[in-house]
C-alpha cells in the first residue's frame, strides 16, 4: 500500500459524539500532517478528551469519519488503532501498579502488531527510568510516570502519537523536558497530536492549533501566528473584550 505523502496522516471530519443528551463533540474536523505537531486547546469540558477518546476508538461516536494514512479507521478498537500505528499517552498516565517500571513500558510492546522497539531506546530517551526499572510503576514521581506512559506508547513504533494533557500536575522543568522529547520524535518523522489546557506551552511546541469550545472548533491556524485575543475568545466563548 503506497501512500500519498502530501496527504495528511490523520483526517478527522465532522465528528459527533454524545453522552446521553450532552453533546461532547459537535462536528469537529481536523487534520494532522506527517512530521507535524498539532495542538488542541480548550478549557475543561470543551471536548478535548472526548476527541482523543473518539479518535482512539474508546468512545463510539455517532457520526463522522476518521482516516488514518488514507484508510478509514472509524469504529476500530483501541487495540486495532495501536496496531495500525497510533500510540496513546492517556490522560492521567494510567500506570499499572502491579507492573514494574520496565514492565509498564514493555506492556506497550505486548499490545501486538508491530515489532517492538527496544526497551533500551526508551531508556536512552529517559535514563532516569533505567535506574528505577524494577520499582513498582506507581511508586516513581509523577514526571517519571509520564515518561513511562510516553515510553510505553513508543514501544509499538507509532507513526502518530496522541498526547492527552501530559503537562497536568508536573513541574515546568519536567514539562519542558517532555516537550523536548516530543520535538525530537517529530524530527525523527513522527506526527503528534497534543491536547493541552496550558495554551502557551502548547502553542510554543506546535506548528498548528485548533481551539475547542463546547464540542466545536472555534479557532484554528498556525501556532506562530496565533493571536492571543482571538485564542482567549475561542477558549472561553462569549464576549471577553
Amino acid at each position: 500500500m503506497t501512500t500519498d505523502a502530501s496527504r495528511p496522516l490523520l483526517e478527522v471530519s465532522d465528528l459527533h459524539l454524545r453522552y446521553g443528551g450532552l453533546r461532547a463533540l459537535d462536528g469537529v474536523s481536523l487534520t494532522v500532517n506527517r512530521r507535524e505537531t498539532v495542538a488542541v486547546l480548550g478549557a475543561n469540558g470543551a471536548g478535548k478528551s472526548s476527541l482523543i477518546k473518539a479518535i482512539y476508538g474508546v468512545e463510539p461516536f455517532s457520526a463522522g469519519q476518521i482516516l488514518f494514512d488514507g484508510v478509514a479507521v472509524s469504529g476500530r478498537s483501541p487495540n486495532q488503532m495501536a496496531r495500525a500505528g497510533i500510540g496513546l499517552v492517556p490522560e492521567g498516565r494510567k500506570i499499572f501498579p502491579s507492573l514494574s517500571v520496565e514492565e509498564n513500558i514493555r506492556l506497550g510492546a505486548a499490545i501486538g502488531g508491530h515489532d517492538s522497539a527496544d526497551v533500551d531506546r526508551v531508556f536512552e530517551i529517559f535514563p532516569e527510568l533505567k535506574e528505577r526499572r524494577h520499582v513498582q510503576g506507581t511508586l516513581v514521581s509523577g514526571g517519571q510516570q509520564q515518561m513511562i506512559a510516553i515510553g510505553r506508547a513508543l514501544m509499538a513504533r507509532p507513526r502518530l502519537l496522541l498526547c492527552d494533557e501530559i503537562s497536568l500536575g508536573l513541574a515546568p522543568t519536567v514539562v519542558d523536558r517532555l516537550y523536548d522529547v516530543i520535538g525530537d520524535l517529530v524530527a525523527e518523522g513522527m506526527a503528534v497530536l497534543i491536547v493541552e489546557q496550558e495554551t502557551n506551552r502548547a502553542l510554543k511546541s506546535s506548528e498548528r492549533y485548533y481551539c475547542l469550545l463546547e464540542g466545536r472548533v472555534t479557532a484554528q491556524g498556525r501556532s506562530a501566528e496565533a493571536d492571543q485575543d482571538e485564542i482567549t475568545r475561542a477558549y472561553f466563548g462569549g464576549d471577553h473584550d
Partner: protein, 289 residues
C-alpha cells in the same frame, strides 16, 4: 509422635490438590473478575468426562488426561465465546448469577446421566503404593505425585505471569480492565488465553481429584468452597501463596479428621473464618514482579 508426623505429612500433601483447585479460580477472580460459582461443578463435570474416557477405552486416567486437556480447552473456549462474552459484565452480579445457573444445570444434568452413586477414577497399583522413610511414617506415592504436579503447574504459571509478554498483559488487565483497554490491550484475546489456562488447571485438577477422592454430581460445592478459601487466604496474584494456603487448609482438614472424621470439612472452614477475622487481606499479599 509418629501419628502427628503422619497427620502433618498427609495435610501438606493434600494441600497440593487444593492448590490446583484454587489455581484456576484465582485467575478467574483476579483476571476475568467473575465470581465463578460453578468452578467446583466444572471440575466435577470434567472428572465425569474423564471417567467416560477411561471406561470406554479402558485406559489409565493419566493417559486419558492427554485427550481430556484438549477437550477441556475446547469446551472452555466454546463457553467463553458462546456465553461469557455475551454477558453484560458492568454489574458483577450478572455473570455471577449466570455461573450460578450453570452450576445447577451441571449438577442436575450429571444426576440425570450418572445417578447419585459416588464414582472414582482407577489409577491402578499406584494408589496403594506407599513408602516408609522412617519407622511408623507412611507416605503415599500418589499424594507426593499430586504435590509435585501442583508445584510444577504453579512454577509454569508463575513463569507465564511474571516472565512473558502475555503475563504483563494479564496483570495489567487484572489491575484495571478499563485502563488496559484504553491503552490498546486486546481484552478479549487476553481473557480467552487466561481462560484456557484456567481450563488446563481444571483438567489436571479433575483427574487428580477423581483418583484421590470419590465424587458425585453434587461434589462441586465442597470443591468450590475449598478453592475459594485457598484463594482468599493465599491472596490474589501470588501463586506460591496459593500453594501455601492450600497446605494450610489441607493441614486444618487432616488435623480435624484426626480428632473425628466428621470434623474434617468443618476444621478447614473454621481456619478460613479465623484467618478472615484476623487478616482479611490474606496471609500472602500481592507482590510486584
Amino acid at each position: 509422635m509418629t501419628d502427628i508426623a503422619n497427620v502433618v505429612i498427609q495435610g501438606v500433601l493434600l494441600g497440593g490438590l487444593f492448590a490446583i483447585y484454587a489455581l484456576g479460580l484465582s485467575l478467574v477472580f483476579g483476571v476475568l473478575r467473575i465470581v465463578n460459582i460453578a468452578h467446583g461443578d466444572v471440575l466435577v463435570l470434567v472428572a465425569y468426562v474423564a471417567l467416560v474416557i477411561c471406561d470406554s477405552f479402558s485406559i489409565s486416567p493419566f493417559l486419558a488426561l492427554l485427550a481430556l486437556i484438549p477437550l477441556a480447552l475446547l469446551g472452555g473456549f466454546a463457553f467463553q465465546v458462546g456465553v461469557f462474552e455475551r454477558v453484560d459484565r458492568r454489574d458483577p452480579l450478572v455473570p455471577m448469577l449466570v455461573a450460578f445457573g450453570f452450576a445447577v444445570v451441571i449438577q442436575n444434568g450429571l444426576l440425570l446421566l450418572f445417578g447419585t452413586n459416588p464414582r472414582k477414577l482407577d489409577a491402578g497399583a499406584i494408589e496403594q503404593l506407599g513408602v516408609s522413610p522412617f519407622p511408623g511414617i507412611n507416605v503415599s506415592v500418589l499424594a507426593v505425585m499430586i504435590l509435585v504436579i501442583a508445584i510444577v503447574l504453579i512454577a509454569i504459571f508463575q513463569a507465564i505471569l511474571y516472565r512473558s509478554r502475555f503475563g504483563i498483559r494479564v496483570r495489567a488487565v487484572s489491575d484495571s480492565e478499563e485502563n488496559a483497554r484504553l491503552i490498546g490491550v486486546d481484552i478479549t484475546a487476553t481473557f480467552r488465553k487466561a481462560f484456557m489456562m484456567v481450563m488446563l488447571t481444571v483438567a489436571v485438577g479433575a483427574v487428580l481429584m477423581g483418583i484421590k477422592t470419590n465424587f458425585d454430581p453434587f461434589s462441586g460445592a465442597s470443591r468450590l468452597l475449598i478453592a475459594f478459601e485457598v484463594v482468599v487466604i493465599g491472596g490474589l496474584g501470588n501463586l506460591w501463596g496459593t500453594l501455601a494456603a492450600g497446605i494450610v487448609i489441607g493441614l486444618a482438614q487432616m488435623v480435624g479428621a484426626s480428632i473425628d472424621v466428621s470434623y474434617q470439612t468443618l476444621a478447614g472452614h473454621l481456619v478460613f473464618l479465623v484467618i478472615l477475622l484476623i487478616r482479611p487481606q490474606g496471609l500472602f499479599p500481592k507482590v510486584v514482579g
